[in-house]
Each structure stands twice: as structure tokens, then as C-alpha cells.
């Protein structure tokens, strides 16, 4: 079993280029042996470039890439430069939309990287991806999901040390995607292969991966378990990127410390407990502008208590979108702020015009706002 270590690699498509998208800038990443790491990034963040560097399609300008203890690429890192071409890396790739060889049958595709004698392995991996009945089919006779299954089988067949998946599910429709995701996860686990997947889809990264690495501007800005990344994003941008974020400005500052790391602030939803994140967090950012971030599922709706008048969190429903498994309700608070609230599917959603009170469960996160962010100020 082999992990992947990426140490300080940099890459640019064109020297001196003004365009800074798709570059890799002193990037570090560890993919533990046998795990699946999802690299999550917006388009232009450089995630596909990273994948191509690992596959050996591109040569890093500097830095080191290790598969286990094998150096597969090294440049400008003190020791002599080294570069293993793709065919020597023992790496498998599952490209976007499969990219099956159109002139070969399914078993021809899967057997492409195998010695001629090894027919059994073809059957074995095809069974594994539930495509055993399609050995003689042609790629163009398969559906998109079936093509992806075959592409995975083709990559797994030669028992590579590392599997690279390039947005493997992005071309599939939603229901098929969820199903295939689970199957791919299971197959990778059964084979015990170390895998790295790049994606721009937060749900995909959080649901399938052991570890999620968030990429931005050619660097990994945060990596951790899906839970860590979702519950404790390192900065406001990551918080916004990994899920829906409800952002509220403070009505009083500075925050009042409660326990270690946790303090109390007040905003349009009343008193909220928050954990401050980032440099200067312990000092409550020294009075610098800050913003409370909550997840829509942390908010709860209740019917207002008429006798209490309009207290903190009182608002009016402006829109309600029903999705079956849950509903997303848009609430306009007294000060005019609009916030999304997610409520579980069982209950019928409130109707537009209904008066509600928005409460908060759990702790929110407090981030420093570097520049003025366009959220409506609290009263």
C-alpha cells in the first residue's frame, strides 16, 4: 500500500503569464495509504492541474511528488531532478466522461493495461464494477454511468498504487451520481487503492471522501475530515464554499468570552454562541469587523409567542421551496435581512406571509471580515 506525498510543488503553464488561474503554488498534500482524498476547488483553482502533475502528464517547476517512498517527480529541491513518465508510475486515471477507447470493446479497454495472459483479471474487475455482462459491448452502446464504471475497471485492472479521478461523476444526472458514487467508494475500499479525486461538487467531496482538501489559488487552504471542513472552515471563503452559509453582522462588539474558544455575540437572531476562527480570534479580532456564520440546518423555526411581542429572531416567511426530503424557507427578519432556513421534510413548510421566529441550535462561527461584505447590517 502506497500513500502520496506532495511537497512544495509549483507549476505554471506559461512562464511570465499574467493569468494566475490553474497554477500550482507551493502546494503540500498528503494522501494516506488506502484512503480516498477529495480535492475540492472552484474552476480555475488548479485542481485538474494538480491531478495532471500527479499522473505525470505535466512536470512540476519545483517541488517533490512521492508515491510511497518512490520519487516520481522532483525539481529544484536540492537533490537531482527526477521525473517518472506516466507509464512508469503505476497510476490509474479515471478521466472526466470516461474517455474509453472508442475502437475497443469493453474487455479490450479493461485489458489495455494488462498482459495478454491475464484474462481473469478483466472478468474480475468487470464483475467488481457490475459490468460483467458487457465484456463484448462497444463504448458507444453504453450509458454515461456504464462508461464510467468501465473507465474505473480499466484504471483498476493493472492494480495501480494510486487512482486519480477527475470529476468522475460530473456528467451524470443527480440520481445516477449518488448511486455510482457509493459503488465507486465500495470498489476502491475493497481494492484498498489509494485514491485522489478532484471535484467542484461539495456534496460529492463531503459524502465520499475520507479526507477533503480545499484548494484555492493553487494551494490547499484546508484539509481534514469532511466534518472538520464543514464544521470548522478556516476562513469565510472556505465556509461559503463547502456549504450554504448564513452570514449575520454583529450588533454589539466586542464578543463576550464564555469558555475557552467560545464567546457570546449578539446579532439579528439575538444572543448566539460562536467560536472565533483565524488569527487574532482569541482577542475577538480586537474589535475589527466580524461576521457570524451559521448553517441553514442550525436554524429552527417556531410560531411566535403573541404575548412576547417581536423579540430577537422574529421575521416573516417570504418564500418556501419544497424539495420533498426537506424544505428551504426564506425568512425576512425585522431588520430586512433575508436568511435561508432548512427544515426537515416531514412538516409542511410555512406559507409566505406567515410570522415566524428563527432560533439557533449549536454554535456558530465568527470570522473577521477583511472588507465590508454585503450583508444587511443588524439594527
Amino acid at each position: 500500500m502506497t500513500g502520496v506525498s506532495v511537497r512544495g510543488i509549483s507549476f505554471r503553464y506559461h512562464r511570465n503569464a499574467q493569468d494566475h488561474s490553474n497554477v500550482i503554488d507551493h502546494l503540500d498534500l498528503e494522501v494516506p495509504s488506502g484512503s480516498l482524498v477529495a480535492v475540492l476547488g472552484a474552476s480555475g483553482s488548479g485542481k485538474t492541474t494538480l491531478l495532471r502533475l500527479l499522473a505525470g502528464f505535466l512536470r512540476p517547476d519545483s517541488g517533490t511528488v512521492l508515491f510511497g517512498d518512490r520519487v516520481v517527480a522532483r525539481a529544484g529541491a536540492g537533490a537531482a531532478d527526477a521525473f517518472l513518465p506516466p507509464e512508469k508510475r503505476r497510476v490509474g486515471i479515471v478521466p472526466q466522461e470516461g474517455a474509453l477507447f472508442p475502437h475497443l470493446t469493453v474487455s479490450g479497454n479493461v485489458g489495455f493495461g494488462l498482459p495478454r495472459s491475464d484474462r481473469d483479471r478483466i472478468t474480475e474487475v468487470l464483475e467488481m464494477v457490475q459490468m460483467g455482462d458487457y465484456a463484448d459491448a462497444r463504448p458507444h452502446d453504453l450509458s454515461g454511468g456504464q462508461q464510467q464504471r468501465v473507465a474505473l475497471a480499466r484504471a483498476l485492472a493493472p492494480r495501480p498504487d494510486v487512482i486519480l479521478l477527475d470529476e468522475p461523476f460530473s456528467s451524470l444526472d443527480a440520481s445516477l451520481r449518488t448511486h455510482l458514487r457509493a459503488d465507486v467508494r465500495e470498489v476502491l475500499r475493497a481494492e484498498g487503492t489509494t485514491a485522489l479525486m478532484v471535484t467542484h461538487d461539495q456534496d460529492e467531496a463531503l459524502s465520499i471522501a475520507d479526507l477533503v482538501a480545499v484548494m484555492r489559488g493553487g494551494r490547499i487552504v484546508q484539509s481534514g475530515t469532511p466534518r472538520e471542513v464543514y464544521d470548522a472552515p478556516v476562513d469565510l471563503e472556505v465556509a461559503r464554499f463547502v456549504g450554504d452559509a448564513v452570514e449575520l453582522n454583529l450588533t454589539t462588539s466586542p464578543p463576550t468570552p464564555v469558555t475557552a474558544g467560545v464567546s457570546q455575540v449578539s446579532c439579528a437572531l439575538g444572543e448566539v454562541r460562536v467560536r472565533a476562527v483565524g488569527s487574532g480570534a482569541s482577542a475577538g479580532f480586537g474589535g475589527a469587523p466580524a461576521v457570524v456564520v451559521l448553517r441553514p440546518e442550525q436554524l429552527v423555526l417556531s410560531v411566535p409567542d403573541r404575548s412576547a411581542g417581536s423579540g430577537a429572531g422574529a421575521g416573516v416567511v417570504r418564500e418556501a421551496a419544497y424539495f420533498g426530503h426537506d424544505s428551504l424557507v426564506g425568512v425576512e427578519l425585522a431588520d430586512g435581512t433575508r436568511i435561508p432556513v432548512r427544515i426537515a421534510g416531514g412538516a409542511p413548510p410555512p406559507r409566505p406571509g406567515d410570522a415566524v421566529v428563527v432560533g439557533v441550535t449549536g454554535e456558530g462561527l465568527l470570522y473577521r471580515t477583511r472588507d465590508h461584505i454585503a450583508t444587511t447590517p443588524c439594527s
Binding site: S45, L58, P85, P95, H103
Partner: protein
């Protein structure tokens, strides 16, 4: 979301981002250099004569008359082709006529009739035919498919939703067509018109047989008569300038034609318009009349000559020998053209660096060079540099490769571009070295396209007349030169079998072209 909006200009996944291999670039540069050689040599010769001499030649009344004649001929034929071609294309694309497939093929087949064969067929039937207007008629009849085919394709693939929206916004059927669909066909019509113009400008056979003093005939005559090298050279260069203008304009328009249809997804077919009664009869008469003029007259004329001539024995051995020679020399040209085109086509299909663009553009030089110009230049060049190669099959093959190589480059380029680089990259990860990975994926998948390009070069080279006349070894007769020498001595009857054989051979690519426009190709051969 990240604070800075992510730039959308991510590297195109279909294009490799790596730098092109040096060896491939070197090979491509060689092809470009060879394609440029005939033109450069003419420039060198003209330069050697001194500017005064060049200006004197340019200012002679004969030069000016030649320019006027050629330009007038081009304008007349282009106008006629548009008038004939656009309505024909509309009928083929949109009307519910019986036998649509047959009409499409008959609209493409005139391309298979070399201009000198058509001219010969008409003259042998109507011996009085001669001069400017006869040339306009015959050149129109052989070149109007250049307008019909692209316009038909454009009208067929025009997004019907645009016209439907125009209807929904209150336009009547005719105005909706004019406002929404016709503009989608305009770039195709303009591109076709420029191809017609280039064809007419480069044509040698028809203008020579019909005695019109256009550029090609005057150049050939001055070369034959006096070996007046400087005069012929200067005239050839003027011809090249005119052709270059047309080619540049055609490229511009082709680029613009791609910008329609912004959406993706499957496009619906257009429901045909029902023509009934008089309109239907008129439409069928129009198509039949056109087919009769473009195909019927030449065919009947050639068959009549055959029959009349059948009393004197047809020397079959000579015909077979000429056909064999034709196949052999054009095969040599095609092999050379494909070999030269491969590096350029692969580069252009994979790498879009400025250097690659330059190499590609330069290797297309031959596309703008009339055969008579390449013939002239290579005659002078071999005499000056390599007299031992003068009038050899090798030089003839070079001429074919320069003239028709662009077809092979285009075929290789589009075939290469259609294969996603990720296939080759995936093959690498599966353990294949660079060369084997390329051979088993990209090369394997481009081979059919490259071969088709080679066959197209070969069939086009068979019809080539002026360069073949100038460069062939003495005593080597192809179908085209046999036909030429027999019409030269008014031996019309004995020329017929050669003409028929030529048309039959040339019909193959025209037939393929008609079929390609016919059914919209099945999507999803490569379902990626």
C-alpha cells in the same frame, strides 16, 4: 465561493497544453518550406529581373486586359452560381421533393466533371461555342455545387428553434425564414462563392479550350511560345495575389460561420416545407433542367462521340496505359502529400501555439496557387537548380503534393483534433511508452481520416491538367494529357473514352461529398 470570480479560461481539455515535440515541428517546418518553394522561387526570379522590367510588364495593355478578363469572368461566374445555387440549395434542404437523396447526389456530381472535359463535351456538340460567355456557362455548370453543397448543409443544420421563435414573435413564414434562417446560411453561401471564384481564377482547361485570354491561358501561352520567363513569372505572381485575396476572404468567412448555435444538446431536424401543385412541378423542372445542363449534355455528348468514333477502333491498350499512368503518378503525389501533411496535421490538431499556426498557414500556400503557377515555377526551378530532374515523375509528384497537400493536412488535422488527448494520456498511465501509446490510440483512430485525405489528393491529382502538361516526362501520357492533346488536334471522337474514364474516376469523391451532406452524420461514434 471564492472571492475573486474564477477565470473561465481554463486550459482546453481537448488540446494538449504541452509544447509540441521539436522533431515534429522540424518536420512540419520542412513541409511548410516545400509548400512555399514555388512561390518564393517566382519572387526571386521576378526580383532578379529588376523592378523596372517588372513595372514595364505590369503596365502593358496585355497585362491589364488579362486582369480585366479574369476579374470579369470570376464576377460573372460567381453571380451565376449564386443565382443558380441558393434556390437549389433551399429546395434540397427544405422542400418535400421526391428522391431528395438522388437530387443531392446529382447536385454534387458536376464537381466530378473537370472543366476541360465539360468544355470539350459542349464544343464537340456545338462547335460554334467559344469566348467569354461560353466560358461563363461552362464554368458555372461545373462549379455551382461549391455553392449548393455548403448552403444546403447550412440550411439543414440551421437551428429551427430560431425560426420558430421568429414565428412566435409575429413574423410570417417567409419573413421568419428571411430574418432567422437565411442569415445562418449566408456565411456558407459567401464561402462557396469564394471557392467558385478561386476555381474560376485557377482554371486552365476550360478557358484554354474556349479561347478566353484569362490569366492561366496567357501564362501558359507565353511559356510555350517564347519561354518568356520574366513575362510569365510576373503574370503568375499577379494571379497569385488575386488568389491569395480570395483565400484570405474565404478563411475569414469560414471562421464566422462557426459562431451560430451557442447552445449544446441535440438539435431537432427541420420539418420539410410541403410544395404542392404548380410550385412542386416548377421545383422539379428546375432541378431536372439543371441536371440536364450540368450532367446530361456532357454525358450525352461524350456517348455520341464514342458511338460515332466506334467505327475506328478504340485502342484499348492506350487507354489502359494512360489510366495506369494517371493512377501511378497521382498515387505517388498522394503518398508524398500525406507524408508531408502528417506532421503539420498532427501539430495543428493538437497544439495551438503561434509557431504551429504559422507552419500550418504556410503549408496551405498550395491551396492558393493555380496549377499553372506551380508548374511554371517548378519548370524554371528544376532547369536552374537540378536539370537532371527536369520533367521527371518526382517533380510532378512534388507539384501534386504542393497543390493538393492542403487537403491531406486538413484531413489529418480534423482527424487528430477529433481524438481527445486524454485517450493517449490514459494509455500512458496503463503502462505504454509515448510512441506505443500514440500508435495504439491517436494514430489508430486518425488513420481512416488520413487515408481518406490521401485518396482525395489522388483523385484530385488525376484531374490536374496544366502542371501535368508542363512537368510530365516526355512521352508520359495520363488520361488528362491524352484528352488534351486529342482535343488540341480536334480529334474529338477519340478523346471521348479518356473523358469518360476521367469522369468516372473523379465521380468518387464528388459522390462521397454528396453523401456527407445527405444524412446528418450519426452522433456518438465517440460517445464522450
Amino acid at each position: 465561493m471564492t472571492s475573486a470570480p474564477a477565470p473561465t479560461r481554463s486550459p482546453d481539455r481537448r488540446q494538449s497544453t504541452a509544447h509540441p515535440p521539436r522533431l515534429l515541428l522540424l518536420a512540419g517546418a520542412l513541409t511548410a518550406a516545400l509548400s512555399l518553394t514555388p512561390l518564393v522561387y517566382l519572387l526571386v526570379r521576378a526580383g532578379g529581373a529588376g523592378p523596372q522590367r517588372v513595372v514595364d510588364i505590369l503596365a502593358t495593355p496585355r497585362t491589364l486586359e488579362t486582369v480585366a478578363t479574369s476579374v470579369a469572368l470570376v464576377l460573372a461566374v460567381v453571380t451565376a452560381c449564386l443565382i443558380v445555387g441558393v434556390p437549389t440549395a433551399w429546395l434540397l434542404a427544405r422542400a418535400n421533393l421526391p428522391l431528395r437523396g438522388v437530387w443531392l447526389v446529382t447536385a454534387a456530381l458536376p464537381l466530378a466533371v473537370p472543366s476541360y472535359v465539360a468544355a470539350y463535351a459542349w464544343i464537340s456538340q456545338f462547335p460554334a461555342m467559344s469566348g467569354f460567355w461560353a466560358a461563363v456557362l461552362i464554368l458555372t455548370l461545373v462549379s455551382f455545387p461549391y455553392v449548393v453543397l455548403p448552403v444546403t448543409a447550412a440550411l439543414r443544420t440551421a437551428d429551427p428553434a430560431v425560426e420558430e421563435v421568429a414565428r412566435a414573435l409575429g413574423r410570417g413564414p417567409v419573413r421568419a425564414f428571411a430574418a432567422a434562417t437565411l442569415p445562418q446560411a449566408w456565411p456558407a453561401a459567401a464561402g462557396g462563392a469564394l471557392l467558385v471564384a478561386l476555381y474560376v481564377l485557377s482554371d486552365f482547361g476550360a478557358v484554354a479550350l474556349l479561347r478566353v485570354d484569362a490569366f492561366t491561358r496567357v501564362i501558359y501561352a507565353s511559356y510555350r511560345a517564347s519561354f518568356d520567363r520574366i513575362g510569365a513569372t510576373v503574370l503568375a505572381l499577379v494571379l497569385v495575389v488575386l488568389a491569395a485575396v480570395l483565400v484570405t476572404a474565404e478563411r475569414r468567412i469560414r471562421g464566422r460561420a462557426l459562431r451560430w448555435r451557442v447552445g449544446t444538446g441535440v438539435q431537432r431536424r427541420v420539418a420539410p416545407i410541403r410544395l404542392v401543385g404548380v410550385a412542386r412541378v416548377a421545383a422539379l423542372c428546375w432541378l431536372s433542367g439543371l441536371t440536364a445542363l450540368a450532367l446530361g449534355v456532357p454525358l450525352v455528348s461524350l456517348l455520341l462521340r464514342m458511338v460515332e468514333h466506334s467505327r475506328s477502333p478504340l485502342i484499348l491498350a492506350e487507354l489502359v496505359a494512360a489510366a495506369t499512368t494517371s493512377v501511378a503518378v497521382s498515387f505517388a503525389g498522394a503518398v508524398l502529400a500525406v507524408a508531408l501533411a502528417l506532421p503539420v496535421g498532427i501539430l495543428a490538431g493538437r497544439y495551438r501555439t503561434p509557431l504551429v499556426r504559422t507552419v500550418e498557414t504556410l503549408s496551405f500556400t498550395g491551396h492558393a496557387l493555380p496549377g499553372v503557377v506551380v508548374g511554371l515555377s517548378l519548370v524554371f526551378l528544376t532547369l536552374a537548380v537540378a536539370p537532371f530532374a527536369y520533367q521527371s515523375v518526382a517533380v510532378l509528384a512534388v507539384a501534386y503534393a504542393v497543390l493538393f497537400g492542403p487537403k491531406a493536412v486538413a484531413a489529418t488535422r480534423s482527424a487528430t483534433a477529433a481524438v481527445p488527448p486524454i485517450l493517449e494520456e490514459t494509455a500512458r498511465t496503463l503502462g505504454l511508452g509515448p510512441v506505443r501509446a500514440w500508435a495504439t490510440t491517436t494514430l489508430r483512430l486518425t488513420l481512416p481520416g488520413v487515408a481518406a485525405g490521401g485518396i482525395l489528393v489522388m483523385l484530385t491529382a488525376m484531374k490536374e491538367l496544366p502542371a501535368t502538361l508542363m512537368l510530365r516526362p516526355t512521352g508520359l501520357d495520363t488520361l488528362a494529357t491524352e484528352l488534351w492533346s486529342r482535343t488540341d488536334v480536334a480529334a474529338y471522337g477519340s478523346a471521348a473514352p479518356y473523358a469518360i474514364t476521367l469522369v468516372a474516376l473523379a465521380a468518387v469523391p464528388a459522390w462521397l461529398l454528396g453523401r456527407a451532406v445527405g444524412p446528418i452524420r450519426e452522433a456518438g461514434e465517440v460517445d464522450t
